[in-house]
C-alpha cells in the first residue's frame, strides 16, 4: 500500500460481556476479555451488575493499569442507561487480551459479577 493511502474502517456498536462467580473473598488477577481477531475495540463505557460489593481494575492497551488501586464497583460500574464513560477511549487491538481484569470479592459468599464493556468495533476494510 502506498504510504499516502490511509486505511479505512467500518465502525459498529459493540459490547463485550464478562461474567464470573467470585467465590468468598476470592481475588482474580489479569483475567482476559479477549477481543475478536477481525476488529479493534474502542472502549467508551462500563456498566454491569453484581450480587454484592467487589473491587476492580483493568489494563489499558498500553499495558498500564487504568487505576492506581482497585476501585469499589459502586464507584465505577455505571448503569445501562448511563454507562460510566472511559475517556478518551482506549483502543484495544484485534486479537488482544483486552481489558485484563483484576477483581476482588469483598464479601464472604459467592458473588455473581457481570461487567459490560460498551464501545465501538472498528473493522479495517482496506
Amino acid at each position: 500500500m502506498p504510504e499516502d493511502v490511509q486505511p479505512t474502517y467500518v465502525e459498529e456498536p459493540c459490547t463485550y460481556v464478562f461474567q464470573t462467580d467470585l467465590a468468598a473473598d476470592e481475588r482474580l488477577q489479569q483475567v482476559s476479555v479477549n477481543i475478536d481477531r477481525d476488529s479493534d475495540f474502542m472502549l467508551t463505557g462500563i456498566h454491569g451488575s453484581s450480587d454484592d460489593a467487589y473491587t476492580m481494575n483493568f489494563r489499558l492497551p498500553s499495558g498500564r493499569l487504568y487505576s492506581n488501586a482497585e476501585i469499589p464497583n459502586t464507584d465505577i460500574i455505571g448503569t445501562a442507561n448511563q454507562p460510566t464513560a472511559i475517556g478518551p477511549p482506549p483502543i484495544y487491538r484485534a486479537g488482544s487480551s483486552g481489558p485484563q481484569l483484576d477483581l476482588t470479592n469483598l464479601i464472604s459468599g459467592t458473588n455473581n459479577v457481570l461487567i459490560i464493556f460498551d464501545g465501538i468495533r472498528r473493522i479495517r476494510t482496506t
Partner: protein, 180 residues
Amino acid sequence: MLNRPWQDPSGTDWTDALNPLAKPGFSQNNNPFAFALLKDPLMLALRLASGIEPRLFVCPDDRSRTIPAGQTIDFEAPIDPNTWLWALNASSRPNNTDFLFNITDSVTGASMFSQPVSMRSYNAAVTGLNNSGVSGNRGPLHLVKPHLYVPPSFPVVRIINTSDADLRCWVNLFCCVELP
C-alpha cells in the same frame, strides 16, 4: 425537550466516549452540568486529542487503610506529569458513612472546594446512598472545567473522618494524562 431540533445521527462521533450528543445520560436535559463540561473548549480538546490516556487515581491507594474516628489524613495522589482531572466521586465502608474531603494543589495551595465537602454530595449512588453494593449509580461527577496539574504540582486529597467510627474512605479522581 420536544422543542429541540432533530440531529442527524450520522453527524455524531459515536467513538467519542465523552460526546454529550452520543450519550443520553450527558444530554442537556438529563445532565446540564455534564453537558456543559463536555462541550467546554478545554474538554473538547482533550476528548479529541491523540496521545491522551485515561487514568483513575483511588485516594488513598491502600484500600485496607482505616481512618480512625475523628482523624484527618492527607494523601498525595501519585499522578503523572500533565494530568488533567475532569471528574471525581467518593465512597466509604462500612455503609457509605459520611466523611469530609477536599483536594488541594500541592504547589499553588488552591483548594477545589472552599471548605471540605460531604462525601454524600459526591457519592455515585443515585439515591445518595447505596449500601447494598448492587450497581445502580451515576458514575463520576464532572467538574465544570477540567483542571491541569502542571508539573511539579499534584493533588493532595484531605480526608476527614467526622464519624464516631473507624472508616475506610476513598476519593476517586477520574483523569487523563498526556503521554510523553
